[in-house]
């Protein structure tokens, strides 16, 4: 059983690197030459993970192509008119997803609502052959919708009042996973 702590990171940079490497190998197992995978990073923090997966993929699958995109599900969310105005971020997807094999990538899977919105957003680009979900951290027993990851780095039990934060070197200066008490 994983326990929550707020004094030091739940996972450090090296552990993150290893798990991301392992996840990229799992993706590689699904590769088929005739239908390259599409890796879709969900804005904002899923994009960092998707970029790391893409880099790891290139190191052990140098000749196999992988299509990459960035998806912002803001317009498809179900929490309009709640507490704050939702501002969109960029979607970068220059190709159709019709009949493609799509892997949605996010940092933390919590209630499942972001993924539900992302599934709606994906379908505006066509009807994929299938969609799978990859997350770095899965929060167990926290789902409000029947959505579960196909691949995950960690599965953690965090209390309802806690927040799981993934820090990325590109944004925060260093890689780490923190489980924090909400202030």
């Amino acid at each position: 059983m994983n326990t929550a702590s707020t004094s030091e990171p739940y996972a450090h940079a090296e552990a993150m690197r290893q798990r991301i490497h392992r996840l990229s190998l799992m993706l590689a197992e699904m590769h088929q030459d005739q239908s390259p995978l599409v890796l879709l990073g969900i804005q904002p923090r899923g994009v960092y993970l998707a970029q790391r997966l893409q880099a790891a993929w290139k190191s052990h699958m140098p000749t196999a192509s992988l299509d990459f995109g960035v998806l912002d599900p803001t317009f498809y969310r179900d929490d309009f008119n709640q507490s704050k105005v939702l501002i969109p971020e960029a979607t970068q997807l220059s190709f159709s997803l019709e009949n493609r094999r799509v892997v949605l990538v996010d940092d933390v899977l919590f209630t499942g609502r972001t993924i539900r919105a992302a599934l709606d957003a994906v379908h505006t680009f066509g009807r994929p052959e299938w969609i799978k979900l990859l997350v770095l951290v899965e929060r167990r027993f926290a789902r409000q919708l029947p959505i579960h990851p196909d691949f995950y780095g960690w599965s953690v039990d965090a209390f309802e009042g806690q927040k799981v934060r993934v820090h990325w070197a590109e944004h925060h200066g260093n890689d780490a996973i923190w489980i924090e008490n909400k202030s």
Binding site: Q82, S83, V85, T124
Partner: protein, 323 residues
């Protein structure tokens, strides 16, 4: 978390630099949505929007209606002809009646300058109307903010960042709400604005707004990156401001002879509808330098951004939660 600083979009004047940046970036995302196979998003599915057009319009009304439908809002349309206006109902009564039917937002086109400002001032007194959001779709000769926003968005798409760029507004500045809104917005975005018109079509004291004034289209064209050719508003011309359409075209119209003399050719904008052969030669309206139809396409994205940002705000900042 950013949001617009205003509750209504009544004019460009009230917008902050942060508002403009947020509107431009949100417009860019909606422009991307409009390129997808499925162009509709569910964002405003719980909103009802009334388009109140007390004055004729084709592209603005269709553009707003399409923007609303792309956002999944419910839409009702009202035009002055065939309404109870002829029975003597006031503007405030008409709008209050429509808002009493649980309408959330009003898109208003009216021939009286300040019609939207008047509504924004008086609606809060009425319990059915206090939460309504108003978007000015053109009020007389005053402002047409969404047109200015879509012009600026189109300029950005063609020229890149606008700070330091030179843009001319040519023609009927006196009667043009597009001109005033454009002037205010472009200046806020750091553009050097030049007005080119016969003295009879320039408002008195306009130079106090910090714009350059020119009476020679040939000289103006040599200086600018883009030229916005305004329509001669014949419906608002109750006195003769120039001798004839032919003479206007010769002196202030963008014609082929003038165009071919130019070494650096600017991009051409027009808010529509175009009077071909008066302010703009038809061949130039259809040329590669013209972005007139891009403006129309961008208009839907820009109006989606305005409706999206104001539509969410209408309940988000009042603490009313429906689910």
């Amino acid at each position: 978390m950013p949001q617009l600083s205003c509750h209504h979009l009544l004019g460009i004047k009230a917008l902050t630099d942060a508002d403009i940046e947020l509107l431009m970036s949100t417009s860019a995302e909606f422009y991307n949505v409009l390129q997808r196979p499925i162009k509709k998003v569910p964002s405003l599915r719980d909103k009802t929007i009334a388009n109140l057009f007390f004055e004729n319009s084709t592209r603005t009304r269709l553009s707003f209606e399409l923007a609303e439908k792309r956002l999944s809002a419910d839409v009702i349309n009202f035009s002055a002809s065939g309404s109870s206006l002829s029975k003597g109902e006031t503007l405030l009564d008409t709008v209050n009646n429509i808002l009493a039917m649980k309408v959330d937002m009003i898109v208003l086109r009216h021939s009286s300058p300040g019609a939207g400002i008047f509504l924004a001032k008086h609606l809060p007194r009425f319990k059915h109307s206090a939460q309504a959001r108003i978007i000015n779709a053109g009020d007389g000769t005053h402002e047409h903010p969404t047109q200015a926003l879509l012009d600026a968005f189109s300029l950005q798409q063609s020229l890149g960042p606008l700070a330091g760029k030179k843009v001319a507004l040519v023609g009927d500045i006196l009667h043009s709400r597009v001109a005033l809104s454009n002037m205010l917005l472009l200046q806020k975005m750091g553009v050097h604005v030049e007005l080119c018109a016969p003295p009879s079509l320039l408002p008195k004291g306009i130079e106090k707004l910090g714009v350059r004034i020119s009476h020679s289209l040939d000289q103006t064209l040599q200086r600018v990156d883009a030229v916005n050719m305004l329509r001669i508003q014949e419906e608002r011309l109750n006195v003769q401001h120039f001798p004839s359409a032919y003479e206007y075209h010769r002196l202030f119209g963008l014609n082929m002879e003038r165009w071919e003399r130019l070494q650096h050719k600017p991009i051409i904008l027009h808010p529509g509808p175009v009077n071909r052969g008066v302010e703009l030669d038809g061949r130039l309206a259809d040329s590669a330098n013209s972005i007139i139809l891009d403006q129309v396409q961008h208009g839907v994205a820009v109006r989606m951004a305005v409706l999206y940002l104001l539509g969410q705000q209408s309940t988000a900042d009042t603490g009313i939660h429906f689910n």
